[in-house]
């Protein structure tokens, strides 16, 4: 029982940054039909901004630099949407995938030019550096804080998407772009905003994992965060934010469990899950069947 709580909290804490990245990816895919590989670079740049801006161990300073990371990456995201993806929009999805991959490589290279290739680390904020026991299980304070942040971001996204006019427009464009345009929704503007939100989330996620991970180039496609995020959006169904949430958290818990039960499998549980999903439910948990129309099975 004690073990179970510790495993669950660790798993959810592992899943939260993955969810934050994946939600941005899946939102962007839903609205722009672009698979934003550059999210890996956004994530890395978010973490790198924290390494530069963080002053002192206080919680306030940490929150401040998280916000800075989010806003900084959002600026990069909006710029890249306007400069790269908008011209490519008409050219079809293959070309915009290529554009996204190119942007990923370019931003990654620029980030290493600016920050260098040496791994960096960030100390835990002093208020969250420790652990306490819940029913006998040792739980890290930072892990618990991550869980709380995850709840806040999930709730915030849900409110944004279902209760605001912007959210309605985002869902409309995601559902049927042509019809949304016909109804007078400025789809271009919505795309830019969504790209900004997605980039903001990626920056925040990068900032959140700064204390728990070594920060170097490898983070941009790391097996701990970015690859699981890509897998989470496939398992959850492309374009579905709730799907990404469920998939990211479930995969985090599964990974944490497999680390406890069968350590040799750890790191690979994601790939086994995605293989199983591709076999039996290629459209993902909450994806619509119409999206996934693999040819002539």
């Amino acid at each position: 029982m004690n073990d179970l709580i510790a495993v669950l909290v660790a798993g959810v804490a592992q899943g939260v940054p993955v969810f934050v990245v994946a939600s941005g990816l899946t939102l962007i895919y839903g609205v722009l039909h672009v698979l934003n590989f550059a999210h890996g670079s956004f994530f890395l740049i978010g973490a790198l901004i924290v390494t530069t801006t963080l002053q002192g161990p206080s919680l306030g300073a940490f929150l401040g630099s998280i916000l800075l990371a989010g806003v900084g990456v959002m600026a990069i995201g909006v710029l890249s949407e306007v400069l790269v993806f908008r011209p490519l929009y008409k050219a079809g999805s293959t070309v915009s995938f290529l554009g996204a991959f190119a942007l990923f490589l370019a931003l990654l290279g620029l980030a290493t030019l600016v920050w260098g290739t040496n791994p960096r680390t960030v100390a835990y904020p002093s208020a969250l550096d420790g652990s306490f026991s819940i029913g006998g299980a040792r739980v890290g304070q930072y892990d618990l804080a991550l869980v709380a942040v995850g709840v806040v971001i999930a709730a915030g996204l849900w409110l944004l998407l279902t209760k605001t006019s912007l959210g309605t427009r985002v869902r409309a464009v995601s559902h049927d772009r042509t019809m949304a345009l016909a109804l007078g929704i400025r789809a271009g503007q919505v795309s830019t905003i969504v790209f900004g939100i997605g980039a903001f989330l990626a920056g925040v996620a990068g900032a959140l994992i700064a204390p728990v991970s070594s920060i170097d180039e490898g983070l941009a496609l790391s097996s701990d965060y970015m690859l699981p995020a890509f897998i989470a959006i496939i398992v959850g169904g492309l374009g579905s934010v709730p799907g990404a949430l469920i998939a990211a958290i479930a995969l985090g818990i599964l990974e944490s469990l497999s680390f406890r039960i069968a350590p040799s499998l750890s790191g690979f549980s994601y790939y086994l899950v995605v293989a199983a999903f591709l076999m039996f439910r290629p459209q993902g948990l909450l994806g619509s069947a119409a999206r996934s129309t693999a040819m002539a099975r």
């Binding site: 698979l35 008409k90 190119a102 490589l105 996934s292």
Partner: protein
């Protein structure tokens, strides 16, 4: 090429101009180059094969892979492992084993990954390459960052290669034979089926083409020849490390394909030579290949999404705009590169 085709269709069909072209290049390059430029040409030759192999998947069949480095790396690592464990095996057999391993891996992967649409498939190819890259660090037998050395000792048949010139002849011969095989495939009904699947998977299916089988087959062939290219590069450099599986490799080969343009058979070959030479000449300016490849790919994708071969049309369009006449109608459909992405054909069929 057209002239030859008019006078002797059979020669073209058998790929004689291609073979002759390779023979001429093989003889001429050592006449003009030696030392390190010759080595650059050797690398470029291996990349010619890599770009052609990628074009089988991307240009012919319309499957976009962001993980070609996976198969390139499998070829290189197969070579290194065989050299470590069975050093007496002839190098050409090692090439074949590596190609077979990569082809099987790719076909198995494609059987799973092709159950999804274009977007998920693109993610999965990236994930595959990255997982293999991670495995080189996790599996002790693959030696992590240290990698393998001493690949110069590989005996091609009975003797190891002793000079840059021998390496050049060996590389260009293997590349020539592989490209010739690809030409035969291109002209075969299987090659035609691949292009049909690229242009319109639904219509291809309606014509009785087994779309999935064609796609899986193209993926396997592409991977097998990519592995040969990877093994050739590994042999040339003498070392194999995780960098053969890096995602910048996947990007570079896409750049090579796109520079040349894939609407012609030889486009990717041209692109690979241009890429390797530009990279070598600019290596003092750009230390980090990611920036270089990324920016280059961005420029190509935004300015010339259809490669250098689309330049004449582009120029004509700009001139028309300047002269003030209305542009031809171009909706998303007409501007779109043929692809097998699920959502778009699906909606147009419904």
């Amino acid at each position: 090429m057209n002239l030859i085709a008019r006078y002797s269709p059979t020669a073209t069909k058998l790929g004689l101009p291609l073979v002759a072209g390779f023979a001429v290049v093989a003889v001429l390059v050592p006449v003009f180059y030696g030392g390190s430029p010759l080595f650059t040409w050797t690398t470029a030759a291996a990349w010619v094969l890599f770009a052609m192999a990628t074009s089988v998947m991307f240009g012919w069949t319309g499957l976009l892979s962001f993980g070609q480095a996976a198969f390139f790396g499998v070829g290189a690592y197969a070579m290194a492992l065989l050299n470590t464990h069975v050093p007496d095996m002839p190098g050409l057999v090692m090439l074949a084993v590596g190609a077979g391993a990569a082809g099987l891996l790719a076909a198995l992967f494609a059987l799973f990954a092709l159950r999804t649409s274009g977007a998920e498939f693109a993610i999965l190819t990236l994930v595959l390459a990255q997982v293999l890259w991670l495995l080189t660090y996790r599996v002790p037998g693959l030696k992590g960052e240290d990698g393998f050395h001493g690949l110069f000792a590989i005996k091609i048949w009975n003797e190891p290669l002793t000079s840059d010139l021998e390496l050049w002849y060996y590389t260009i011969a293997v590349v020539g034979v592989c490209c010739w095989l690809l030409w035969l495939l291109y002209r075969s009904t299987a090659g035609m089926a691949m292009r049909a699947v690229r242009d319109d998977p639904w219509r291809a299916a309606a014509l009785g083409i087994n779309v999935r089988r064609v796609q899986v087959g193209a993926f396997g062939v592409s991977a097998a020849f990519s592995a040969v290219a990877g093994a050739l590069v590994a042999q040339g450099q003498g070392v194999v490390g995780p960098s053969t599986l890096a995602f910048s490799i996947s990007g570079e080969v896409l750049v090579a394909c796109l520079i040349g343009g894939m609407s012609r058979f030889a486009g990717p070959m041209l692109g690979a030579v241009v890429l390797i030479w530009v990279q070598t000449l600019l290596s003092n300016v750009f230390h980090d290949s990611n920036v270089f490849v990324g920016l280059l790919l961005l420029v190509i994708v935004i300015a010339l999404p259809k490669g250098l071969v689309s330049l004449p049309d582009k120029v004509r369009g700009v001139r028309r705009r300047w002269s003030g006449s209305p542009p031809p109608p171009s909706g998303p459909a007409s501007a779109e590169r043929p692809s097998s992405d699920g959502p778009i054909p699906a909606e147009s069929v419904r």
